[in-house]
């Protein structure tokens, strides 16, 4: 990658003591649809994030205009900003530990070679399935994304790492209408391989859900046992824990898990991992966004807080090894430690068994607003858009429009009654279905 080398070289020429270029080349298909395909986009982009240090002074500059002149200007601007930045007393050096873990399942060579028409055909077939399901159902919105990412990281320590990844994501919503009653059903899926994406199944499930919820109603406020579906609890897990287990939050005093290493923070049967090597995981890759190898890290083992997640900066500050969690959401964003694939270890109960052994309670199938939960206090809030009453071991009346609240840390400690065996992901967060002993519900 000539321009990356040029950027690093120029940064050093302008007076940087260290420099790192992160170049990302993206090819992305983006399809939007409703009851038919609305638009088809082909995006080809490239961008470079340049991180420079002038002794202990740091700066990041990025650009998507990769001409020689712009790269030179970018290097100059980065160094200029770094020179005026106050010293970071904790700065030691850029990552020097380059390498690759044996992570697998992050690149689909079939997707790269595939004709676009195959994607269009599969998608049209799924849309048709949704329409055929029931004449009260209409596909109202959906998105399908396929991307191929080439990432190169190169540093002034003479190290270089390259990786090629694929991501596929789809999201679709069905709406049902019957004599003025309206309802929706939404399904989503994020995978690394085209053959793991079952669009027709998603379409049918969304349609089925929309029809079932035509008669959904809120329920009275109260406290009830709940079963939370895997993808929903995965999302909650990510919203609450991604920050607090990040070493940066811990070091800055923002994390409620600060000073709790080795302490019991959850019930004995709870294991939570971060696994950058998870086969086919949404954020699986051989090295992180500063070139450090990825790994599997136990965050909570048998209820005890075992590790925080580190990039090299936070690791050097604590005098420990990086856990390979350096992450940039986009090439132009600052680096920070974040989970790769965050996972609540599955247990051995099936969701059906959970329901069967529940006399009274609710099953949560879909929520909105869970990201409004507060990771610092652990205050959990979500609005259930799709739930069911559980009566004598069976899902009965569909319910909607109620708010659940509770404290996530209390849930981990003593409200987690059962952990399911059906692991699924919501982006990089993985969880099985879980049953909680009790949760507060604000209803009508």
């Amino acid at each position: 990658m000539e321009l990356a080398e040029l950027a690093v070289k120029k940064a050093l020429d302008f007076g940087a003591t260290e420099a790192e270029a992160y170049v990302q080349k993206v090819k992305r298909l983006w399809i939007e649809f409703a009851d038919k395909i609305d638009s088809f986009k082909i995006i080809e982009s490239i961008g470079m994030g340049l991180r420079v240090a002038v002794n202990k002074k740091l700066a990041i500059h990025s650009t998507s205009i990769l001409s020689e002149r712009e790269v030179e200007e970018a290097a100059e601007k980065a160094v200029k900003i770094a020179k005026v930045a106050p010293e970071d007393p904790y700065w030691k050096h850029l990552n020097k530990e380059f390498g690759k873990s044996p992570a697998q399942g992050y690149f689909d060579d079939k997707l790269e070679a595939m004709e676009y028409s195959e994607i269009i055909e599969k998608l049209n077939a799924a849309i048709d399935k949704m329409k055929e399901y029931d004449n009260r159902v209409k596909p109202t919105r959906g998105m399908l994304m396929a991307s191929i990412l080439n990432t190169t990281i190169l540093s002034s320590y003479g190290e270089k790492n390259e990786r090629k990844e694929t991501h596929l994501a789809a999201w679709m919503r069905a709406k049902a209408e019957d004599y003025g009653e309206k309802s929706t059903g939404t399904e989503h899926c994020e995978v690394r391989f085209w053959n793991e994406m079952n669009l027709e199944e998603m379409a049918i499930r969304a349609a089925e859900k929309a029809v079932k919820f035509l008669k959904a109603k809120p329920i009275e406020s109260g406290k009830l046992p709940v079963i939370i579906r895997n993808q929903v609890f995965a999302s909650i897990l990510g919203v609450i824990l991604s920050g607090p287990i990040n070493a940066d939050w811990v070091q800055k005093g923002r994390s409620p898990l600060s000073n709790k290493l080795g302490m019991q923070v959850a019930a004995q049967n709870i294991n939570i991992f971060d696994d950058g090597t998870l086969r086919g995981g949404w954020r699986t890759r051989p090295f992180d966004d500063e070139g450090h190898p990825t790994q599997r890290t136990t965050v909570i083992g048998n209820g005890t807080l075992k590790n925080y997640l580190y990039d090299s900066y936070t690791a050097l500050k604590d005098n420990v090894k990086s856990t390979g969690n350096a992450f940039r959401d986009q090439y132009w964003m600052p680096l920070q430690p974040l989970p790769t694939n965050l996972m609540l270890e599955p247990g051995n109960v099936s969701p059906e068994e959970m329901i069967q052994e529940t006399r009274g309670g609710i099953f949560i199938d879909e929520t909105i607003g869970e990201w409004l939960s507060n990771p610092v206090s652990g205050n959990l809030n979500a609005t259930i858009t799709h739930g069911y009453l559980i009566e004598n071991g069976e899902l009965t009346t569909p319910i909607k429009g109620i708010v659940i609240s509770g404290n996530f840390y209390e849930i981990l400690k003593d409200r987690m009654e059962l952990i399911g065996n059906d692991l699924r992901n919501n982006m990089q967060n993985y969880s099985p279905t879980v049953k909680l002993t009790e949760i507060t519900i604000a209803g009508k």
């Binding site: 500059h61 007393p89 610092v376």
Partner: protein, 464 residues
């Protein structure tokens, strides 16, 4: 500009290839973000994004492709990609309305270009503000951010439009975390304006940060409200958030045409109480400067709701065609990599005639819901369900403000909620943000929202 000459060639080439309509969007976007955490500079990042997107209509099918590589060969390849995309979805028919051909340049005014300010001055402003936030031992963490953006766009169409817009924006954000008796509370807040560095100079950044800390300390020592349904008064931040998220999205023409919105088929009917008027407007004090949309259409003042009656949806050229109306100038794209979809600009409730004291005086027990410290919201437009985490608020007892409550979450069904509005204040505040925006279908755009203080008779409040 050289790029404009290349663009003209692409428009001609597209015509030669039988393309009936071409829109080209060139963009150069600059962004700077200074982050200070706990009295130290955490990062100074700056970003430049430049590129060009081509939208073609071929036998009524729309194809889109974009590139960052601006040499002519790459632009030609991008045109070919757009045509390829259009051919693949040729089955469908997607028509658009005609709109006036505009040839105009409009730039948001500023005195001092914030991108040209010395980096050290910007850093020290943020650093000083952060240091001023440590007002109490209970403050455990403080983050201050200074953000600057400049968005320059050229829109060119095969019909002859050439619309150049530039919006310069600056803002400061601060977040304090307070801890007491094992409870932690986070209060984030921000102020932004379409202006230059003079906006930062005119602000007292130190008291801005200190005030947020004071609120975090006050909140951490307060209780959460009992869950239930109450009469509430919401402040301009909250009514803005509520309207934008729970009503604004539902009024977006594309979501209406797919019948996804609760507002489908409701033009001319009562959707809110008679006190409610809702407007979407491209240029308004305090809001985001958006004179023309990304389809070259002027963003006029759109009255969405008038005295409780739904008058208009928001439209781009595509949704306008389906409703047989004119585009309202709401076709917006995040950047050159995205197709314009129907988006709000500055969405707000029109003021009426009540003083704040009059709004609370007949509430025996309720809550004054405040937006400062709000963490955001989410909505399901199909059913109109909303849920928002708002800031530390105040209990209203016997017509007067009483103690502060924290951890307040409001939720409800928007059409029911808006019908229980029985009084609207005479103040008006519209706000925007340089730190984020509104997300829809994977695209984020800058928006403004607001309104006056508003009394809502029935609101579900979840606490703990």
């Amino acid at each position: 500009m050289e790029i404009e000459r290349e663009t003209e060639k692409i428009v001609k080439k597209a015509a030669d290839l039988g393309v009936s309509h071409v829109d080209i969007c060139y963009q150069q976007y600059d962004y700077e973000l200074i982050t200070v955490e706990n009295k130290a500079l955490k990062s100074y990042s700056s970003r430049r994004l430049g590129g060009l997107g081509i939208k073609v209509a071929l036998n009524d099918a729309v194809g889109y492709a974009s590139t960052c590589d601006l040499n002519y060969a790459s632009l030609e390849k991008t045109l070919e990609n757009a045509i390829k995309a259009a051919k693949l979805i040729k089955k469908e028919e997607k028509r658009i309305v005609e709109a006036k051909v505009n040839r105009i340049e409009m730039k948001s005014p500023y005195k001092i270009d914030p991108l040209n300010m010395a980096p050290e001055e910007k850093v020290s402003a943020a650093l000083d503000a952060n240091k001023a936030a440590w007002i109490d031992k209970k403050i455990k963490s403080a983050i201050t951010r200074l953000g600057i953006s400049k968005d320059y766009r050229i829109f060119i169409s095969s019909e002859g439009s050439r619309v150049v817009t530039e919006t310069t924006m600056i803002g400061v954000a601060h977040e304090s975390v307070a801890k007491s008796n094992g409870i932690m509370e986070r209060v984030p807040y921000q102020e932004s304006k379409c202006a230059g560095y003079e906006f930062i100079k005119s602000m007292d950044l130190n008291s801005f940060a200190a005030d947020i800390s004071a609120l975090a300390v006050e909140a951490v020592e307060s209780k959460t409200p009992p869950a239930g349904t109450y009469a509430v008064v919401v402040d301009p931040n909250v009514i803005g958030l509520l309207l934008h998220e729970a009503f604004g999205h539902a009024s977006e023409g594309d979501l209406v045409s797919t019948r996804e919105s609760v507002l489908y088929g409701k033009i001319g009917s009562q959707v809110a109480s008679e006190h409610v008027t809702i407007i979407d407007e491209g240029i308004i004090e305090g809001g985001y400067f958006y004179p023309f949309d990304d389809e070259g259409v002027k963003k006029e003042k759109t009255v969405v709701v008038e005295n409780g009656i739904l008058r208009s949806y928001l439209h781009n050229k595509t949704s306008a065609y389906e409703f047989n109306v004119a585009s309202t100038g709401n076709g917006r794209a995040q950047d050159f990599e995205n197709l314009p979809i129907v988006r709000q600009t500055n969405y707000y409730m029109g003021p009426r005639d009540h003083k704040f004291e009059e709004l609370i005086e007949d509430i025996d027990f309720g809550i004054y819901i405040r937006g400062k410290g709000a963490t955001g919201g989410q909505v399901e437009v199909g059913m109109g369900t909303f849920t928002f985490g708002v800031g530390p608020s105040k209990i209203i007892k016997n017509g007067e403000l009483a103690e502060t409550v924290r951890g307040v979450v409001i939720s409800g069904f928007i059409l029911e909620t808006l019908k229980t509005i029985d009084a609207v204040g005479k103040d008006l505040t519209v706000r925007t943000s340089v730190f984020g925006g509104c997300g829809k279908m994977g695209q984020t755009v800058r928006v403004g929202d607001g309104g006056p203080h508003v009394r809502i008779r029935k609101m579900t409040v979840g606490g703990r």
